[in-house]
Amino acid sequence: MKKMAITITMLLIIGSIYAQTHSAEDILINADAVVNAPQDQEISLKMTLTDKGGNEKVREIKMYQKGDETRLIRFLSPADQKGVSFLSLPDDVQYLYLPAFHKVRRIASHIKNDNFAGTDFSYDDMSASKYAEEYDATLLDKTDDLYILELIPKQGVEKNYSKLKMWARQDNFYPVKVEFYDKNSTLWKLFESRNIKKNGKYWVASEAEMTDLKKQHSTKMIIDKVELDKGLADNIFTKRNLKRVK
């Protein structure tokens, strides 16, 4: 039933593109929806971290995700971090498994702006795309095929960014580029989604890159393999499973 409902909503949304011009708010809601659309995902990806000296570090990751708040991440490489696993459950509950010590530990991080595991994504950036919940949008401009939105954090929502600028496709609302501005309104981070293709009924970007312009450091993620709506079992996202690493 739920699937049906979503599909119908999607169809309605797509249908309405041609029927009317969208308000900025609608565009943002749609952008969130298209990114979060799959029920569950199993993704193998390669992450490349590049520092300002051009030195690269490569990490291979397997990621299981169900809904938009439940996620299990396993590091496959580098060798000495193989098996390090990260389980994130709704309400900011996070567990980490360290194979070298065979121990699961709950991790709390009340600091959302800390970067995740050496990447340029903060824990906040890593969480699901919920721009519409946290930002007020205004439509700045329209190009031939893109909407350009300006996002300002809603009142009462504390963010590290003073504003965001988002470029979303007109045909499917997929955000292709987001600029993050710091409190002094200078460009701080740049997020880009590339290679956006249809995978089954969903749009998926198989390449994404976050660049921290202050640190001159970037994180590029290239998806090797993606499986959507596999019906991932709930017991994948448990502490017991977290440490099941051989």
Partner: protein, 981 residues
């Protein structure tokens, strides 16, 4: 010289105009003269220590640390924390600042029940205001060594914001901007500004204000002295103009060459005014004398130039040489000071010998006043007469006194203290000094020691050596809070596994590293390739002797105790070397305990007993299984919903435990498969039919539980056994206990790191790969040490060089080696007297006082030359030694005294300044001048009389020469008359 005098008079107009043009041009250059307060610029930039220091600065976000301290009753109150937060946030936004740490922005690794938190001590967006919450945070913060004494004082009264400035940031500009912002924030806290950037700001301001303050005073003093001595306008104006012009030229030239004014060279104007006036004084003095003799104006000028031109030139040259001797110093600031003072002195000479007579030729000849002296001897006359009698009578006594001074001075050479720290430049009550003293007493100082680590920083062997060094650093007095990536790994291990030590495997390190990756603290501890890191500690003293001692100790420790080539060996493969390896391990652990105990104030009563116990545990073969503890752990495991083996029935739990314990007892070398087959015997199939891998995972968990239990059991037993060896109860100090557990945990290691050097035989066929490690000490203390070494060598070499050169010059002038020797002796005496004073009054050798010796040579030699010259002249003219001596004292002696006093007064004005080394320099060199003058009118003549000074003429047998001289004089006068016609 006479020809030269004629030339000067012939071209007097171009000389005057030219001098004025050059002076105006140079005066314009003065505006561009900059002040440098960077202590690093003392040293040549290719000095290896400077290169390393800059390299570290480049790699780890800058070397300059600025600290702002806020003091109040208790900093854990909302107002203070918000102020700290405001300052921190603002600093973070400044692009010139690479890193900021404070209470409101600092990494926090916190243990929680069944978990951990890596985050910040405070959320910068939410500073709590509730009392209880603040009280909790206060207790937590003060309980952690990472914070206590670093970003907050032990008593919680002072909060510190630490900012690291980028390597290329202009520290003066950024420092001022920081200070301005901090002062603009409101609050009742007392503020302190410490660290190199603020020291530099203060120093620059002080140099500036000192020059502005002192110059007028020096000038005024000079005017007064000149007025009293000459009692005529030209006697004041001409020497004054000479020094003004030459000082302007000297400083203008500095500016033209882009040389900045430093702590040393800011004394140049004062020095040039004090010294440079001498040439004008001598010239005017002689001119007046000649006029009084009845010469006309032009003739008097010619006479003056030809008679005193050479001695003044010689005096100028020797003075310049005294300063040029600093060229062989390694310290840039002293070199610059030497060059430009020497040039300035030569300028003074040139102006005195050209511009001054040219100007004089336009002035009407002074009216000859009836000499008061001839009717009624002045005090000075009477004094000089008495002195000459005294010398004639007591020359031997004078020489003996000189000899005693010689001995004492030589002895004191080895007793003088040294001081190079910038903080010592400021007066005790100055704002910066108070800030630094506060930092030193409450927060372990503001000057970091840095050790650059080159090696694979994810390698346990490397991290363990780092920890070893850090523990040693902590055990040293005055060294506080060492910090490095190794500490963070230990801290993570403590939070994760309750043991503050480096994991023995690479995987262990990498796993813990996972938490730290991407944290903003990392760029100041390691480079991005993880192959270079920094150990930083604070040095809580500015005392040069202590700094040298500590840096020396650290270097010694690195070279003797840190392995640079390390082999990793599995204990099971050690075979024949096992005994030696065990001994090494015992030594290594006991040393660590020793350092920790020293730091936390524990005494080890019996080190041998400690080593014995350690040895016992390290060599213990059979791993006893702690049955009761293990039972509890296994039952807990089976009760845990998240475990693999969830068993509710307690009878089945018992069965499983019993069977497992039996298995472990039988099999020393238990393994996972064995456990699985054992479990299969007791756990019903229904438990794992849905999950075929369940028992495999359970076995993995059980192995890790058993291993951990065995290791903890061993560690706890060991701790229990060594507890009585400490002077105090270890439970009283949780920090010591934490470190102690980490130290002894190493008994569990199975992978051992050993020195390649010591165990050569182990690696005959190079089957083990070598882990290389290189540690180099850098940081401000090393720079200070470098400067200190250079100050000593500057002193020694430049002094010897100056004395040697002046000796040669004098020997040539007198055409006699003995003459050179006799002339140099009063100078050496003066220099030694100066050292004796420094020893007696505990004045340290620093960037300023180091120059006194050579300056004393340069200036003091003038007196000797003038004296010798006049004495020689008088002996050639008069019939008795007694008369010659008295006349010399009455004329040149008098000039020497006047000059010495005017120079003295000039130098004494430095006492009004705010830079301590300059103050010391001022009064010491003033005193040295007095001694120099005294020596040249007492010791020198005594020496001349005793040795009969054949180089000045035969003092015993004057009559024949006198006849010749009289003839020569008549001839000369005849020539003069011809010329006038």
């Amino acid at each position: 010289m006479r020809k030269f005098a004629e030339l000067v008079l012939k071209y007097r107009v171009p000389i005057i105009i030219g001098t004025i043009i050059i002076t105006v041009f140079m005066a314009f250059q003065l505006r561009k003269l900059e002040i440098s307060s960077d202590i690093l610029e003392y040293l040549p930039q290719d000095d290896p220590n400077v290169v390393l220091f800059n390299e570290v600065g480049d790699k780890f976000g800058g070397n300059s640390i600025a600290m702002i301290a806020l003091e109040t009753d208790d900093v854990f109150n909302p107002e203070t924390l918000n102020r700290v937060n405001t300052i921190t946030q603002r600093f973070k936004e400044m692009s010139e600042i690479s890193y900021v740490t404070s209470l409101t922005d600092v990494i926090d690794i916190k243990k929680m029940e069944d978990g951990l938190e890596v985050g910040k001590l405070f959320d910068e967006r939410y500073i709590p205001s509730e009392k209880n919450e603040l009280e909790n945070i206060k207790n937590y913060t003060l309980s952690k060594e990472m914070y206590r004494g670093n970003i907050v004082s032990d008593d919680g009264n002072i909060a510190v914001v630490i900012a690291r400035l980028n390597e290329d940031a202009d520290r003066l500009i950024v420092g001022r901007e920081m200070k301005e912002f901090v002062l603009s924030t409101t609050g009742n806290e007392k503020l302190y500004f410490a660290g190199i950037p603020f020291q530099m700001i203060y120093l620059t301001d002080v140099i500036n204000s000192d020059i502005v303050k002192l110059l007028p005073v020096v000038c005024l003093l000079l005017i007064i002295t000149l007025a009293i001595s000459f009692r005529s306008k030209r006697g004041v104006i001409l020497p004054l103009a000479t020094v003004f012009i030459s000082t302007t030229w000297g400083l203008g030239l500095m500016s033209l060459f882009g040389v900045k004014l430093t702590v040393a060279s800011d004394g140049i104007p004062i020095l040039l005014i004090a010294i440079g006036s001498a040439y004008g004084i001598h010239l005017v003095n002689k001119y007046m004398e000649d006029i009084r003799k009845g010469d006309n104006k032009i003739e008097a000028i010619k006479e003056t130039i030809s008679e005193v031109g050479v001695p003044i030139f010689l005096a100028g040259l020797t003075t310049s040489i005294g300063f040029l001797a600093f060229l062989i110093s390694n310290l840039t600031i002293i070199k610059e000071f030497g060059i430009f003072t020497a040039i300035g002195v030569m300028f003074a000479y040139i102006v005195a010998i050209t511009f001054l007579p040219a100007l004089l030729s336009f002035m009407p000849a002074p009216k000859i006043k009836v000499k008061k002296e001839s009717l009624e001897p002045t005090l000075m006359n009477r004094f000089m007469t008495g002195l000459s009698r005294l010398i004639l009578k007591r020359k031997i006594v004078i020489l003996i006194i000189g000899f005693i001074i010689f001995i004492v001075g030589t002895f004191s050479l080895f007793k003088i203290n040294r001081e190079v720290n910038m903080v010592d430049y400021f007066k005790k009550d100055s704002e910066i000094r108070q800030a630094e003293d506060m930092m030193e007493s409450k927060l372990g100082g503001s000057i970091p020691i840095q050790i650059l680590v080159k090696g694979d920083l994810q390698e346990p062997a490397v991290l363990k050596e780092m920890i070893k060094l850090e523990k040693y650093l902590k055990s040293l007095p005055d060294v506080h809070g060492p910090q490095s990536i190794a500490d963070l790994i230990c801290e993570m291990n403590d939070v994760m596994n309750d043991r503050y030590c480096i994991p023995q495997t690479r995987e262990g390190v990498a796993n813990l590293w996972f938490f730290l990756d991407g944290n903003e603290i990392l760029p100041q501890l390691i480079n991005s390739q993880n192959n270079e890191g920094l150990i930083q500690a604070k040095l809580g003293t500015v005392n040069t002797k202590k700094v040298n001692h500590i840096t020396g100790k650290i270097d010694e420790f690195i070279s003797e105790n840190i392995n640079s080539d390390i082999l990793m060996i599995n204990l099971t493969e050690a075979n024949s070397n096992i005994k030696e390896i065990d001994m090494e391990r015992v030594k290594s652990i006991s040393n660590m305990i020793f350092y920790d105990a020293a730091y936390y104030g524990f005494e080890i009563k019996d080190k041998n007993a400690l080593e014995k116990i350690l040895h016992k545990y390290i060599t213990q073969e059979n791993q006893k299984i702690p049955t009761s503890n293990l039972t509890i752990k296994l039952v807990n495991y089976m009760n845990n919903e998240d475990g693999d083996l969830l068993i509710e029935s307690s009878s089945l739990q018992n069965k499983v435990v019993k069977s497992l314990l039996k298995y472990f007892e039988k099999n020393q070398d238990y393994f996972e498969k064995g456990i699985v087959s054992n479990l299969k015997k007791v756990v019903p199939y229904s438990y794992y039919e849905d999950d075929p891998e369940m028992l495999d995972y359970a076995a993995m968990s059980i192995v890790s539980i058993v291993e951990s239990e065995i290791k903890w059991n061993k560690t706890n037993n060991l701790i229990k056994e060594i507890t009585p060896l400490f002077s105090k109860d270890i439970q009283q100090n949780p920090d010591f206990k934490k470190n102690l557990i980490g130290d002894v945990w190493e008994i569990n290691d199975t992978q051992i790191f050993i020195s390649k050097e010591k165990f050569k035989n182990l690696n005959n066929n190079d089957q083990l790969s070598t882990i290389s490690l290189n540690l180099q000490q850098t940081g401000m203390p090393i720079i200070y040490k470098d400067i200190d070494n250079n100050i000593v060598s500057s002193q020694t070499y430049s002094l010897l060089f100056a004395i040697g050169l002046v000796f040669i010059l004098l020997a040539i002038q007198f055409k006699s080696v003995i003459g050179g020797l006799i002339s140099i002796l009063p100078i050496i005496l003066t220099v030694l007297f100066n050292f004796a004073l420094m020893w007696i009054f505990k004045i340290p050798l620093d960037a300023a006082t180091v120059m006194i010796g050579s300056v004393a040579v340069g200036i003091g030699i003038d007196y000797t030359i003038h004296f010798n010259n006049r004495f020689h002249f008088e002996i050639s003219n008069k019939n008795s030694v007694e008369n010659a001596l008295e006349t010399t004292l009455q004329t040149t002696g008098r000039a020497i005294i006047i000059n010495a006093f005017s120079v003295m007064l000039g130098f004494l004005t430095l006492l009004l300044g705010s830079i301590v080394p300059m103050q010391r320099f001022g009064w010491l060199i003033a005193l040295t001048m007095l001694i120099s003058a005294t020596a040249s009118i007492t010791f020198l003549p005594s020496l001349l009389l005793v040795t009969h000074a054949s180089f000045l003429g035969d003092l015993k047998n004057m009559t024949l020469k006198q006849a010749i001289n009289i003839k020569a004089n008549i001839k000369q006068k005849a020539n003069n008359i011809k010329e006038q016609k």
